[in-house]
Subunit: 430 residues, 2 copies
Amino acid sequence: MDPRTEINSLLQEGAPVLFGALSPLGQRVYFPPDVPAQSAEARGKALNGTIGQITDGRGGAVPLPVLAAGLSGLSAEDLSRALLYSPVEGIPEVRQRWRAWQRRGVAADLPSSLPLVTGGLTHSLSILADLFGGEGRAVAIPRPFWGNYRQVFATRTGAEVKTAPAYVEGRYNTVAIAEALHGLPAGEPAVAILNLPSNPGGYSLTVAERGEVRQCLLDVAAVRPLVVICDDAYAGLVFEPGIPRESLFWDLIGAHPNLVPVKVDGGTKEFSFFGGRVGFLTFACAPESGVARALESKMKTLVRSTVGSPVATSQVLLLQALRAPGVEEQVEAVRALLEERYRALKKALAEVDPGLLTVLPSNSGCFALVEIPEKLGLTGEQVRRHLLEHHDTGLISVDPRYLRIAHCSVDAAALPELVRRMEQAVRELA
Amino acid sequence: MDPRTEINSLLQEGAPVLFGALSPLGQRVYFPPDVPAQSAEARGKALNGTIGQITDGRGGAVPLPVLAAGLSGLSAEDLSRALLYSPVEGIPEVRQRWRAWQRRGVAADLPSSLPLVTGGLTHSLSILADLFGGEGRAVAIPRPFWGNYRQVFATRTGAEVKTAPAYVEGRYNTVAIAEALHGLPAGEPAVAILNLPSNPGGYSLTVAERGEVRQCLLDVAAVRPLVVICDDAYAGLVFEPGIPRESLFWDLIGAHPNLVPVKVDGGTKEFSFFGGRVGFLTFACAPESGVARALESKMKTLVRSTVGSPVATSQVLLLQALRAPGVEEQVEAVRALLEERYRALKKALAEVDPGLLTVLPSNSGCFALVEIPEKLGLTGEQVRRHLLEHHDTGLISVDPRYLRIAHCSVDAAALPELVRRMEQAVRELA
């Protein structure tokens, strides 16, 4: 059997719904037996002349001292790892430790693959867009949503973004995915993206809402294969008691044969490592299963053909953190800092004139979202420009009438003034 | 005028041949006015709530101490830059200093854009594949070539790789690109990839051969638009006197209206920073020109929709090196180390039985290539497997009968033994 047929057979047998939802490119790719595959076979040989990277002849790096100086906090072994190529699938210890991090508090019998390392959360999404997107594929996303989803799925692959409101009458709309896919012929596969805590909303589901969203996805899965991408970029950044912090991914495993949950996460927000570009991609299958092997072959090919291999330097730095005994406390300290800003913002927003700004519910993440009342006849973009030009204040506008406040990058003490200026800007324009 | 039309107009007017060679995706993309564009407008504002990254409220990072510890060689300011998002186009100082590095010894009147930062050389290639590849587009590459070109251009975008032999009768074939495109209808645009020093060949052109290759490209450009990708991954690693070290890119600027040269390079090999994933993309236009702006808009969109933004951590480390007064000497020391291995390998290969191995010309780079004589009836893959299984030795096989030796990762003292084992393996199988 040729290698592509072999890889595809593993999916046809072990995950037929997933296989049926693959794009033409997703069906086409498998990891070819060229340099990285041959190098992997040569690991540990006495004479290894496979890899085109400069080593000391014994597998260590040959660093420029002026470049390595910045990494002086690393051991010699980790410095070498930071400067040499990562395996295409990621450094094994990083993958294992990230899996353990993801599975804190998760039931042992829920299967999850060894996470594949990517070049950040967007890279994870772009690999999923290559695997499951493509011309005409429906991608359901509650709106407003992070604009880059559109570039990743629609602009690049030709998929069709379908949306429904994330908020209805000031509350989270738990059936948005079903509404977005309304009218799509039964049986046609679709992709759904759920970003929780959300960007731009800063919203996480309550226990009751999680049940409703899960039921909504089951209802969709009753009529079509559905790949559900859980974009967990802001995992753990939850500020209200009673709001679950665990990913929806775990709730969806095994929920319905037509439901294919995928977890997208990374060090970017969870470890406050924005510049590092370490993301992960995780499927609901056991690490050594045939399905896991087949998916890894496909994902590795997409990593290799987009960026070669994921960044080793940042993986090694993330690894230092994952190994450290005090890491959970340090992650919690960042969360607590954000909670302080969240509370300051919430307090300021509570005093806003509702005739000028509608405050949408928020309980988590890095953002809060306000809507300009429709009756004022203003767009978010008009208010944003006015704030830039006349109030020395930068915010993000989201079509049609939203403004996103990134409280994660503003000092708590400055947030009341920021809200005052927003209110003032709308008053001046209305 | 809508922003896409505006961007495309700049190219239609300033670089009509380049515009005509764009793929449908290449024509479609332009940088949309969402988060990064709005954040760029908000830089320097007193209150800036635009970016979804966690800062101290004054633009500095909030590092996990256990993660930042590895970067203890950086100043506080550079540490912040290493941990926070890079601009999508790259850190300005990195771009400026890389441009100065590229242009050492280059005539001031040759235009080149401010290099766009990517996630490594493969990422640069994959952006070019998105811009100029696509269904049915001819991509000419002398063979043997690095297998990943096929995944990047053909598997992903549907382009058609066309090849001709890089070596004819033991000499570099300077008309390979024209031969590869033979039969393609006149006027149809094409892409050519020239990787010099080459992988897997370890070959750089002599002065006379450069003239011949340039003439070959002019001949092709006489009948069609031709995008010439100069893959300068191994720039500078030249070991024989009289062989020019400068990129062919500079020779092609302004050579013919139908010729569009592009330069792909990066810190990977030039700065021995394999794990860092910092690549660049440079076009032959002045930094502030309309063409440069339009191309940057398109390339940025492709960076954003594949990896979000390029890795900041590695950019900052590369920046330390680019700023350091002694960097040229340190880069030269790495080159000298490789030259020692190159000479050891060359000496050992000179003594090989030509009935068992044909040694192809090599003078640069990280590799040497040998061919198994056709009359022996062996494939490179058979010899590779035999070396792995019976001689504790790893090499890369390249179809149909090549073996690539990565002398860059083997100690000089071990290379004679490696060559002896290759010879022995072929003798055992023949």
